[in-house]
Amino acid sequence: MLKVTGLQKIYNGGANAVEAVRDLTFELGEGELVCLVGPSGCGKTTLLKCIAGLMPPTSGTVELAGQAVTAPPPDMAVVFQEYGRSLFAWMSVRDNVELPLKEKKVPKGRRAELVAESLEAVGLTRFADSYPWQLSGGMQQRVAIARAVAYEPQVLLMDEPFAAVDAQTRADLEDLIRQLWKRLGVTVLFVTHDIDEAVYLGERVLVLSSSPTVVQDDITVDLPVERDQLTTRRDERFTELRARVYAQIQQAKNGTGAAAPAAAH
């Protein structure tokens, strides 16, 4: 579904060139929910922007359903960490969700349906006519998620979407993502720096090394599909997986990571 091959990104060629991403290769199957974790500053956001077609890689390719990504693909939606800046303050919640659909030339009736359904899915039906800045941070990120869902993407990219919301809201939003993923069958790539979040959410966790970045480990999360904030997080297997990801990240930080990705699945 989504295939990243030999991706490399170097900023500012010449003497002060910074190699943010060295050589990344991985693949997401259709309908997979994969979390990407790595130490801070390891180029997660760079990678995501390359995948989203917002930034050309220095070398390597990104393919979506067999098509090379060179510009933002029409069946991909991105949810950014900075919801306050990603939502348009000058538009109501409804207009924010509807704008991409208008540009996509979705007929009016269908647009109204999609907006209503997606706002319903994130529990914000009552707030369609509010402005984003009248809502709390968690609610604003729900609007951004609704906008992505209404766009009906095949692939949903999320760039540390819950980094700026409080812990309780975060737990709710995590469950919301799992629930939407199960319902819509969409392929999700979820970037986070939070190990617990990665293991709780993902069906698979990709651990990145520190910069210049390579894939250090690829872990299959064999937890049950139905997850619950209390029981799942108490599960012995959850703790094991968490410990493994943690160890990998520590290794990555200290730069002693294995050069070749471990084939764990």
């Binding site: 922007k49 933002p72 991105v78 000058w90 538009m91 540009e103 009552r126 006519d129 009248q134």
Partner: protein, 282 residues
């Protein structure tokens, strides 16, 4: 005269809670204080010449000035002059606005060209519009175009600089969001760049609206193109001191009305913006 004409808070129905600072501000009654202030000023103005502190040849008492104004307001000549002044104001402002927006958006998105023009702009901008009066007279005589030349020149720079700042304020996250959702260049200008620039643009328009009135009247006063400014000059040369004051009061009133109008417009188009959000609930 105070800003109590603010529209009700722009909180849509269904909003769960009102934005911060929503608690009604208790304090002195502003319209009442404003009225008291004006009345006090008029009483003082009335008293000073009547008590002989200043000769009423130079400062007629308020009652006489207002009577003169009231009498003038019944003549069509006065309203034609007001109309001419407002025409020069509106037309000049509109031309400056359109030119500044078009050039500002174009140059703002072309950093190289912008850098190329900066020095020229910095040179032209500080030239006071009134320095162009001889040029205006040479080119257009006492025609309204003389007025327009001065008004447009002064207003253009005020708005243009604001538009450049506005365009530069484009949020990369908003821009990337728009791109990732497939918004094309024009759609991004319309839905992202334009609203981003709007608060800056409105500041420019507010400043320019006041400056446009000043220059419109200056041009009429000095060049003699039709309008209130010329009426003042005529009243002065015929020694009608009360009339001179009456016309000055009229220009002041015009300024207040224009300011209220622009503020109202600003509140309307920027009801989503931080600067108005807080204010609107006060």
């Amino acid at each position: 005269m105070t800003e109590t004409t603010a529209p009700p808070p722009a909180v849509p129905v269904g909003a769960a809670r009102r934005p911060r600072g929503a608690a009604a501000r208790t304090g002195p009654n502003r319209p009442l204080l404003g009225t008291v202030g004006i009345v006090g000023f008029l009483v003082l103005w009335e008293a000073v010449p009547r008590l002989g502190l200043v000769s009423d040849r130079y400062l007629p008492p308020a009652s006489r000035v207002l009577a003169s104004l009231g009498q003038r307001a019944t003549t069509p000549q006065f309203w034609t002059a007001v109309g001419d002044t407002l025409t020069g104001w509106a037309l000049g402002l509109a031309i400056a606005l359109v030119a500044a927006v078009v050039l500002g958006f174009t140059l703002g998105s072309l950093p190289r060209v912008r850098a190329f023009t900066t020095s020229t702009v910095d040179f032209l901008r500080p030239i006071p519009s009134v320095a162009l009066i001889p040029l205006a007279v040479l080119m257009y005589g006492t025609d309204i175009r003389s007025t327009l030349l001065l008004v447009v020149y002064a207003c253009f720079w005020l708005i243009y600089i604001q538009v450049l700042y506005g365009v530069a304020d484009l949020d990369p996250v908003a821009e990337q969001t728009a791109r990732s959702y497939g918004l094309g260049r024009l759609a991004r200008i319309r839905h992202v760049l334009w609203p981003t620039t709007l608060p800056y643009l409105m500041t420019g328009v507010r400043l320019a609206a006041a400056v446009a009135l000043i220059l419109s009247i200056t041009a009429q006063l000095i060049i003699g193109s039709p309008g209130i400014g010329r009426e003042i000059a005529v009243a002065q040369s015929s020694g009608a001191v009360a009339s001179v004051y009456a016309l000055i009061v009229a220009t002041g009133a015009l300024g207040v009305v224009i300011n209220i109008g622009v503020r109202a417009l600003e509140r309307r188009v920027l009801r989503w913006h931080t600067s108005v959000r807080g204010e609107a609930t006060a």
